[in-house]
């Protein structure tokens, strides 16, 4: 029997037509599901009253998955079949995973995305994530008493196309209709923005289990705009655990740990870390499979010292995000803490010191993201008036097209707000050209070789026209989930081609960070290279156009001396085009232009006369 919830005025659903919508925080370490009931967002708990579902999947002999706490408890005695932190592998190839050797998994390299060999067979990260999502879906359906309309699933702001696509695929596999993918920090902002009706510029500092995300958001009149994002995909609570683990191993003088013992010590390290959030010291005891006994007392002071550099590591991306946004610490009106690791006292005090203010912590840092996702899901499902608020997100790297000479023409600039559609017109380069190849690139650099190639496709069937007559409009569309589709159509003929850009694997944020860094360092060099290529393209085009005109009308409209002057100017330009001096090319092109000025004028007159010759006199007079 369905239990009723209180609806917004005028938005009561028809019976049996409840728009049950949920928000899912699919975390590296923990996952949560939340929903809005009777106007309030709340996290849904399992039968035992637990909100956090450890993002751990253990594959059993019979092929069935065990998900969550039970799996987590068995991870030390069944490490090969117990997958933790699978989010790190989403949309990634084996070569993207630097610490592959340090994990207990048997990886299988596969085109696009790596696979994991378990006793239940070879699993893709998408399947493992789907098993986590299925568990959350089951929990939600039990709690809401019906079938779900859909879900908003959160992803790190830095997730690229491949990682977002993999997340969507996992949801589909779990039988969940994805209403939208939402950036985690943006979800946190929604949770805070709506609950507190905040205004101003905010910084969302999210230190979870495996990832660090920093986002700068502007909130005004209920409108959220993400003005900058940055982060480190390999920094989180796990690294703090690792430090304690290494300390235990060193202090106890242990050598040769089995995979199971290593897991055991790691989970004890995590417990110790969490205990130090409340207490000034904690005791770590264990008996290893070798019989070795571990018994150590770790003080908060030692722990803070062991991990001080990890905290420093969060401040770099924070500074970069501020710089990208063109803001100083003084411009930030509030700092929101998200992620379980922001519970640590030295993280809080470092953030407070950096921003010179106490961060906002009134919502549970573990739940903020799921709560915000639930609010957005509720709105998208139609249970809340959508004109109340609007959501804007940004793209992390510019998107563009290759143009003549290996140059990148940016179509959508970095940090453009999502969803976004931008069109740019291009034309054919050669007379009679019937196809155009379209090469989509991502990155900040000027030359194609320095950017990441996302896709190539061809627009065919362009009717033959003179160079420059075709009007090819290329449209880039990035949807609210950050997924790109590109379409091209020739406007005079209506010929069309479209591609959904799904790269086989995506850009890591290290790569994103490197590319941003590169674009800055190389800006000067790039400009020179760009100038040269541009001048070359212009020069070549001028040569081709001049040659075509000469072939057509040269014999009729030019005297021999005139012809010689033009030929000479063309030859000079040809020579310069082989060189590296863009100024010289420009000069040669300009003098060819001057040499052909008379000729061009005569051609124009001649073509007007030809056009008029075809008409009857009456028509002209009328």
């Amino acid at each position: 029997m369905a239990l009723l919830q209180i609806a917004e005025p005028g938005l009561c659903a028809d019976p049996h037509q409840h728009r049950l919508a949920i928000g899912i925080d699919l975390g590296t370490t923990n996952s949560l599901v939340a929903t809005v009931r009777s106007g309030s967002a709340a996290v849904l708990e399992d039968e035992s009253g637990r909100a956090l579902l450890p993002s751990v999947v253990r594959y059993m002999q019979d092929g069935s998955p065990q998900v969550g706490l039970e799996a987590q408890l068995r991870q030390s005695d069944d490490p090969h079949n117990t997958i933790v932190s699978v989010k790190r592998f989403m949309g990634r190839g084996l070569k993207d995973v630097q610490d592959a050797a340090a994990t207990p998994y048997r990886f299988v390299d596969a085109p696009g995305m790596l696979r994991l060999e378990t006793r239940a067979g070879v699993k893709s990260p998408v399947e493992v994530s789907a098993d986590i999502l299925k568990t959350l879906r089951g929990r939600a359906e039990a709690a809401l008493g019906g079938e779900l309309t859909g879900a908003v699933i959160t992803v790190p702001a830095y997730f690229d196309d491949a990682q977002r696509q993999a997340t969507k695929d996992a949801a589909r596999l779990a039988g969940i209709n994805v209403l939208r993918l939402l950036n985690e920090p943006t979800a946190a902002a929604i949770a805070y923005g709506l609950d507190n009706a905040s205004q101003g510029t905010f910084c969302i500092f999210d230190l979870g289990g495996g990832t660090f995300d920093i986002s700068i958001l502007r909130l005004s009149q209920g409108i959220f705009e993400v003005v900058a994002t940055n982060g480190d995909s390999k920094l989180g609570g796990d690294d703090f655990d690792e430090r304690i683990y290494r300390w235990i191993v060193e202090q106890s003088g242990i050598a040769d740990l089995s995979a199971g013992d290593a897991r055991l010590l790691l989970s004890l390290a995590r417990k110790a870390k969490e205990a130090l959030t409340e207490k000034d010291e904690t005791r770590i005891t264990a008996t290893l499979s070798s019989g070795t006994a571990v018994d150590r007392v770790l003080s908060a002071e030692t722990f803070f010292m062991l991990t001080a550099d990890l905290i420093t590591k969060t401040l770099g991306p924070t500074r970069k995000a501020l710089r990208d946004a063109g803001l100083g610490v003084d411009d930030i009106d509030g700092v929101v803490l998200v992620g379980g690791s922001t519970r640590m006292r030295h993280v809080r005090s470092a953030v407070a010191k950096f921003f010179q203010r106490e961060p906002l912590t009134n919502l549970d840092p573990d739940q903020v993201v799921a709560l915000g996702a639930a609010m957005q899901a509720n709105m998208l499902a139609g249970n809340h008036r959508s004109d109340d608020w609007l959501l804007l997100d940004v793209i992390p790297l510019s998107l563009g097209l290759e143009t003549m000479g290996g140059l990148v023409e940016k179509v959508i600039p970095r940090n453009a707000t999502l969803p976004v559609t931008r069109a740019q017109d291009f034309t054919t380069f050669k007379d009679g050209q019937t196809a155009m190849s379209i090469h989509v690139l991502q990155g900040e650099r000027e030359l194609t070789g320095d950017c990441r190639s996302l896709a190539r496709f061809e627009l065919r069937g362009i009717p033959p026209m003179v160079a420059g007559a075709a009007r090819i409009r290329v449209t880039f569309q990035v949807d609210a989930d950050g997924l790109l589709s590109v379409s091209a159509h020739e406007q005079t003929s209506g010929v069309q081609a479209t591609i959904e850009v799904k790269p086989s694997y995506g850009l890591g944020d290290d790569e994103i960070a490197r590319m941003l860094q590169d674009s800055f360092t190389h800006a000067h060099h790039d400009m020179a290279a760009r100038n040269l290529r541009e001048q070359r393209v212009d020069g070549l085009r001028l040569l081709e156009a001049t040659q075509a005109a000469l072939d057509l009308d040269g014999w009729q409209l030019l005297s021999d001396t005139e012809r010689v002057t033009i030929d000479r100017a063309m030859e000079t330009l040809r020579v310069m085009l082989d060189g590296l001096d863009h100024v010289a090319i420009k000069r040669a092109a300009d003098s060819l232009n001057r040499a052909t000025a008379q000729f061009a004028a005569r051609r124009m007159d001649a073509s007007i006369q030809r056009a008029l010759a075809g008409r009857r006199l009456e028509a002209l007079e009328a």
Binding site: L3, L4, A7, P9, L11, H16, S38, G39, S40
Partner: protein, 107 residues
């Protein structure tokens, strides 16, 4: 003629109203639809309508239009937990049969 709230329902409604940050009470209603003739509606109230009848129960203002009241008179609204699920339930003495779903009924 009256509508009442159970203590747990009133408690929840007050909490939800506080979290929502606005609203003057709760509107109960009935509309024709569903597999068994009529269906309950349950909404927050931001403004009253001219015809509204108003009840006060455990400190919560309950509004209802006169037509709906003929089907809901004597109803107690309860808040219950069933397993993981939780929500409101109408205990309506006027109901002859329900479709088993709790949302639609006949009088």
């Amino acid at each position: 003629m009256a509508i009442t709230l159970s203590a747990s329902a009133a408690d929840r409604i007050q909490k939800f109203l506080a979290q929502r940050g606005k609203g003057i009470g709760l509107r109960l209603g009935v509309r024709t639809s569903g597999c068994s003739g009529m269906a309950y509606t349950l909404e927050f109230v931001d403004e009253t309508l001219p015809d509204d009848l108003s009840f006060e129960s455990c400190g919560v203002t309950v509004l209802i239009d006169p037509k709906s009241l003929t089907f809901l008179d004597g109803t107690e609204l309860d808040f219950v937990r069933e397993g993981l699920n939780e929500g409101f339930k109408f205990n309506n003495p006027n109901v002859k049969n329900t479709c088993g779903c709790g949302e639609s009924f006949n009088v």
